[in-house]
Symmetry: C2
């Protein structure tokens, strides 16, 4: 059967390997598998959220409140915006999907960093639009601006602040200077999935959604409950933008795009800021151990403003092989080979998980 031609060029996203797969394929017991591949919160999530979800479990037969009134109110309060500035997605990547599908088409291009979140490209190709990447892997706003000025058919620019899967983060003042040069008809998506981490480490990286959308009405900020809030498995994210943009994106949102337990989890998670703060603090304490480890072993890292760290190898080592050998030992990390890099991305785990990683990695690397 013939399908729409845009499908011909589509690749599917390669998700981090789940623990179940390592159990199945390598016969390692689930309790012995450590997953440092998908930037999940190693502390789990707030105990208050677990309790609320368990209580709500008797209502799984009921569709969620599709207006998402309570969650929008809570987010509006947190970010000092109105509920008309907010759209909820099944993960923030679904909001990014809506944004790209609403604006990009076969006659336009989407501009992204050389190595960044793979879904930007996939959503773009689904519309028939082309992807333009900077020569540099990490965000380089000078290169971005040059490409932007040279291509009048760019409809969207995506900035990942901080950037997944590399971990770097552009300073907010440089983002603002960049946005000054962007035409009001170009949509700029600011993916803040790891903003809780970046703004803790360095205030110069903090993006304030209410400020950026007021100053640049052509921007949409996206945030998520998947990382610092510890709810990756529950699929909840949000977009914050001017009502005009939100209205357009809502037309692409199917009803009930998150579960009723997700809705409850997100509402309660917003009330437990202590959990988030503790997670972020421990993350950077533990990251120091990775930095020291890398220095001791003499390989390069990219300074990270997130909950993961990228270890780069020289030509004598192959990242694919290292990732494979770690997996056979029950440690799942992300090989960045498919991004054209000889590197692995490792989620900062609990102290115990990190120690096991260091030990195991040393045996393989030395």
């Amino acid at each position: 059967m013939q399908f729409n031609s845009v499908l011909d060029n589509l690749k599917t996203y390669e998700a981090g390997k789940p623990i179940e797969l390592v159990v199945r394929e390598y016969g390692i017991e689930a309790k012995d598998v450590i997953k440092l591949a998908s930037n999940e919160n190693p502390r789990g999530c707030s105990q208050k959220v677990i309790e609320a979800v368990r209580e709500e479990a008797t209502k799984m037969n009921l569709y969620p409140d599709d207006s998402m009134y309570e969650l929008k109110e809570a987010l509006a309060h947190k970010y000092n915006v109105s509920d008309k500035n907010i759209i909820i997605g099944s993960g923030s990547d679904q909001v990014i999907e809506f944004a790209i599908h609403a604006k990009a088409n076969a006659n336009t291009k989407v501009l992204i960093a050389g190595v960044t979140f793979a879904m930007y490209e996939i959503y773009t190709l689904q519309t028939g639009a082309k992807v333009l990447k900077t020569p540099s892997a990490q965000h380089n706003l000078k290169e971005m601006l040059e490409l932007y000025k040279a291509n009048s058919d760019i409809s969207i620019v995506v900035l990942c602040l901080p950037n997944n899967p590399l971990g770097e983060c552009v300073d907010t003042k440089d983002v603002y200077a960049f946005l000054d040069e962007i035409h009001p008809e170009t949509l700029v998506i600011i993916d803040g999935a790891y903003q809780e981490y970046a703004r803790f480490k360095d205030a110069a990286k903090k993006i304030e959604p209410s400020d950026i959308i007021a100053k640049y009405p052509n921007t949409i900020y996206t945030g998520t409950f998947s990382k610092a809030y510890g709810l990756g498995g529950m699929r909840c994210g949000y977009g914050i933008a001017q009502p005009e943009i939100i209205k357009a994106l809502l037309k692409l949102r199917a009803p009930f795009n998150i579960t009723n337990l997700t809705l409850k989890a997100a509402i309660v998670a917003l009330r437990d800021q202590d959990f988030v703060d503790a997670s972020v603090r421990e993350n950077f304490e533990q990251m120091k151990a990775y930095e020291a480890f890398a220095k001791a072993l003499g390989f390069r890292i990219i300074e990270s403003y997130t909950n993961f760290i990228v270890l780069e190898f020289d030509a004598r080592k192959n990242s694919g092989e290292i990732a494979q050998k770690l997996m056979e030992k029950g440690i799942i990390v992300r090989n960045l080979g498919s991004y054209g890099m000889n590197a692995i991305r490792v989620t900062i785990g609990t102290p115990e998980q990190n120690s096991r990683f260091f030990e195991c990695f040393k045996t393989l690397y030395m």
Copy 2:
């Protein structure tokens, strides 16, 4: 800001009003509100599912197994197909979204019944394709075939068996005769969201996915956990088709399109067939009360093969007013006015809920 022109003609789906809204807007206590508007299972869901989800709640930080290996295996076993015949969606409507987006485009048309599930039209308009509806509200395969033969640009036909929101169901032998006339390049979507009900009431309505996709490789069957399985709030459905179709649709599926609790819920739900059987049995016992009630009051109903029933009014009554008055009394039903009908759709509830509906309705109607 300018968005893609297909958005101009898009309406947003009007979801059934949630209990929370009635609580907010009419000041009625949540415990006094009865929701008979969204065809949810009034028995809740299997107790085994509730227990499994509560246990899984400690893992909300972890992304689900994106291969959905265990769920696909369970569905493959149930339906006697291979896991390569299966795609999982956030509700079966997401699978329908993938199918329409994969095949329809601005140069084609999608053929549906006169009054049927509203999302078919919305997903179609998102692609720029046109919607063709039969003059009859209920499925009329003769009219469908005439329209099909008169329009060579039809890329998709959608059959809703049984049909939401009306409740009627075409005989399977007539569906097969219809499919004999359809070109192998036309995709036929068979929405079986309420099949558990239809096949219980009348074996002549039963669609066997393995049989229909073998005989007609241009068909995709979609099923859901939202109705008989009592998991509407968890958003899980599936498509069953030849691997060629599944592969194309998978290209439009974003990773982690269901939550990890949803995955667990669906897997455990499939193991408790007794819950489903009891739900379906009680549904039709209770439907008899609606039929008797309608007869006694002298208004028309459409014979239903689902878990809801449509009550049609003559010109002296207005369905919108009746639905509004019921809502003010804390009973939420679906007004079918937006479908051009002077009718309401009522989900078959528990015996207690139904008694309260009858009582309240009588006061309003007489």
